[in-house]
Amino acid sequence: METLKPRDAKDVEDAVRAAIAGEQPLEIVGHGSKRAIGQPMATNALLDLSALNAVSNYEPNELIITVEAGAPLADVKSLIDSKNQQFAFEPIDTSGLLGTPADAGSIGGMIAAGLAGPRRIRAGGARDHLLGAHAVSGFGDSFKAGGKVVKNVTGYDLCKLLAGSWGTLAVMTEVTLKVMPRPESERTLLLRGLDDIAANAAMTMALGSPYDVSGAAHLPGSVLRTTAGPLGEIGAPDQALTFIRLEGITASAVHRAASLAARLASFGKAEILEDAASSAAWAAIRDVAPFAASGPRALWPVWRIVCPPASGGKFGQALARESQGEVVYDWAGGLIWAALPPSADANAKILRQRVEAIGGHATLIRAPEPVRQAVDVFHPQAAGLAALGQRVRASFDPKNILNRGRMLRGAAT
């Protein structure tokens, strides 16, 4: 497959225009760290944005950073970290899950995938942090969306569509993101031995408290039987762990941890993990370490299920039991990562029926290509919404040139 490596936005425009003229769909790649996610595509050239890697403008006091889409996420993270700032939505690093090189990934890929980590319950997702973008549409035109300030309602909020669109609407060339202060301290309450239902209740109580919880996750005991790394070190085999995180200035985090522990006393006596231990645990939760490609469940398909948080425990417990699979809960039960024993359709049909019944949806994040060919990777929508989504896509890319078929099964041909 031919690889094109544009030097600037103009090159991207030229490449897309040529692709339109030649009716040759393009695969859009930042660093390629998430290429294994999505429906297999029908593209015959690769548009590699890694040369668009400059930080155009970083203004910590304005809480914004403007970066070219191909900039390495790791570099940008360490830049803002040097000013005690962060991307508050805690973007997930999929390298462990997918078995790709660690610390890879671009800023554009982070936004296009829109996979937010544990702090999503408090700080929102990638969509909530994308303030502006320059992008090339499937018309071959470079356009601007949004602005470079934190508060803006001028025109349609096209940024919302670009975030999480997996490169199917436009090729982002530069993005402006909101950055937020990194908390001074963090404390994590650790409860041991709760079953999924009780853990869900504890997390619901924590989120219903005034203590400003920034992470609430639960790992059933069976998951921890074989998990290496920080989670394995904290846990004992077959003993479930429930984590609830509080962040802020030290005095506040300490105070809230103590107050919340008292409120949750009926669920057991909470241990408290401090700063480094806490953040190591949350990085492992964020990146779904129990289902790492280097671990024993490497061959199991992995689903990302988003559901009403208070329904998570009951749903996840039944799913794990009946499928002989494993689940991990984040977002106080509102996000369930499920690894299911291998099957031709990754259990898509039954899983989706059940998740729809509780008002949720499921995305197949990891599966071998034949499985991703056979099932809908992204959750099928009701007919009206699906048709509207396709009209929206066509309003950006009528010739279906960009990442053809990545989000919709059957659209690749």
Binding site: T3, L4, K5, P6, D11, D14, A15, R17, A18, A19, I20, A21, G22, A45, P60, N61, N84, G125, F139, G140, D141, K144, A145, G147, V149, V150, K151, N152, V153, T154, G155, Y156, D157, L158, K160, L161, A163, G164, L169, P210, D212, I249, S252, H255, V306, P308, P309, G359, H361, T363, H379, A382, L385, L388, G389, R391, V392, R393, S395, P398
Partner: protein, 497 residues
């Protein structure tokens, strides 16, 4: 009226009686208003300088009726303007002479409160404040708090992506909505999201929010609610010049502190507010900051002292810290009453709404002062300082010939300046008709075409709220055409491997 609206369709106007009769079949009884006298309350919204009676007002009370009304209008090529409580400051709900004004005021029910999932399902006519009141007994609230929150509807908040003084820390409407039901102009009912943190597929929820009634009519909303912070305290800090106040704001943010609210007022605004509510504002300062910290007591106390020392190091001349809830509310009373306070010192005022990079504040205020002299009109400034959202209030007298035009020209100059220094035309009030013709200051024709293509995906005949947001309307067929550029060379002149 200096804003030109789309020409009324004479063929539609000629059929008015027939249209009214057809609408009465869909929405019986008092739900259709067609007499000139009874339509007067609907002639304008919060942008009161503009008035236009609609062809007819329809007030449905079920989603099915909304769907049937839209379907009928779509089939008959009739324009529709949706309206919530009519508090838009940008003219988003200004009627069209040949249009149906579709009021959602009867959608008043709170359908479900789900504390476990921290979600509330409401009809669009429920007021912003009513949501917080409905969940208050369990310590919850709905975070976005536009200053019209007593009156403004949640449906309107979604259409405008409303903000408020707390949105630096807690986000705008778009960051606090989980789901909605919309009816497209075809009558088709679409549900997006629900009680989940994320929707699936393209973020239709995100694009509906802030679309100013151009994409669909909202008939149900699911919002997320939060627990109220344990305490809140405020500082009131005065500065001898605006630069020092701006520097103080920058240093607070730079120190990693995100206050619950951080507001600035300039001298004219301070004086007007103090004369109106007697909040005890210092009158000898050039800029006043009100900074609110919220959270647990230990956190608030600690941050208050950090902010106080930053303020001192930036040269504050006065600094008061609230010691009671009563005093905190008094600090806010002047700021919250700033608009009516200015209304007392001037027969009329125009409220502008640009956002700028905060570091540009001294320059912008200086230039604004020069413009004020040039136009011979006063200006008072209130400013959501934390997020750079500026509200200049331009003082004028509509009874003096030509003065309103002058005020509008002054306002347009301010917004051009906001864009020139790297900001945007509107931070929270919306484009509506007010800033419509300034859109090309911020967006190129290509940018605007892309936005209008999206409109075509929802409403290809352009029947929903035409004349708002976009200065020039293009036909969808024309916008959708793909131009094939250049010759046959596959990928010319790009490095390849």
């Amino acid at each position: 009226m200096s804003i030109k609206m789309p020409e009324p369709d004479q063929a539609v106007l000629a059929r008015r009686d027939e249209i009214v009769a057809a609408l009465r079949k869909i929405v019986p009884g008092e739900g259709v208003i067609s007499s000139a006298a009874e339509m007067i309350p609907y002639e304008s919204d919060g942008l009161m300088a503009y008035r236009q009676p609609p062809m007819v007002v329809v007030l449905p009370d079920t989603t099915k009726q909304v769907s049937q009304v839209l379907k009928y209008c779509h089939a008959n090529g009739i324009r529709v303007v949706p309206r919530g409580s009519g508090t838009s400051l940008s003219g988003g709900a200004l009627p069209l002479a040949d249009g149906v004004l579709l009021g959602l005021g009867k959608f008043k029910r709170i359908r479900e409160i789900d504390f476990d999932n921290r979600a509330v399902v409401v009809e669009p006519g429920v007021t912003n404040l009513a949501i917080s009141q409905a969940v208050d007994h369990k310590g919850f609230y709905y975070a976005p708090d536009p200053s019209s929150q007593i009156a403004c509807s949640i449906g309107g908040n979604i259409a405008e992506n409303s903000g408020g003084v707390h949105c630096l820390k807690y986000g705008m409407t778009t960051n606090n909505v989980l789901g909605c039901e919309i009816v497209l102009i075809t009558g088709e009912i679409i549900k997006v999201g629900g009680k989940t943190a994320e929707t699936c597929g393209y973020d239709v929820m995100g694009i509906i929010t802030g679309s100013e009634g151009l994409l669909g009519v909202i008939t149900e909303v699911t919002v997320r609610i939060l627990q109220k912070p344990e305490t809140a305290r405020a500082l009131m800090v005065g500065f001898a010049d605006v630069e020092a106040a701006g520097e103080c704001v920058a240093q607070i943010i730079g120190a990693g502190i995100i206050p619950g609210g951080m507001e600035m007022m300039d001298k004219p605004a301070i004086h007007a507010a103090e004369a109106f509510v007697h909040a005890g504002y210092p009158l000898d300062v050039e800029a006043l900051l009100i900074i609110e910290l919220d959270g647990p007591g230990v956190e608030v106390d600690e941050l208050i002292s950090r902010v106080e020392s930053i303020a001192l190091s930036c040269g504050s001349t006065t600094c008061q810290i609230s010691v009671s809830e009563k005093e905190r509310l008094l600090f806010w009373a002047g700021r919250k009453a700033a608009f009516p306070a200015v209304g007392r010192i001037s027969p009329d005022y125009l409220c502008m709404d640009g956002t700028i990079p905060r570091k540009q504040l001294p320059l912008v205020l200086r230039r604004m002062k020069e413009m004020s002299e040039k136009y011979g009109l006063g200006v008072a400034n209130v400013f959501h300082a934390g997020d750079g959202n500026l509200h200049p209030l331009i003082l004028y007298d509509a009874n003096k010939p030509g003065e309103m035009d002058k005020a509008e020209a002054f306002g347009a100059d301010i917004l051009r300046l906001c864009v020139e220094v790297g900001g945007v035309l509107t931070g929270e009030h919306g484009v509506g008709i007010e800033k419509r013709d300034l859109m090309p200051e911020m967006f190129s024709e290509i940018d605007l075409n892309q936005q209008q293509r999206l409109k075509c995906a929802f409403d290809k005949d352009g029947l929903l709220n035409p004349g708002k947001v976009f200065p020039t309307l293009h036909r969808c067929a024309e916008l959708g055409r793909v131009h094939v550029h250049g010759g046959k060379l596959a990928f010319p002149d790009i490095p390849r491997f």
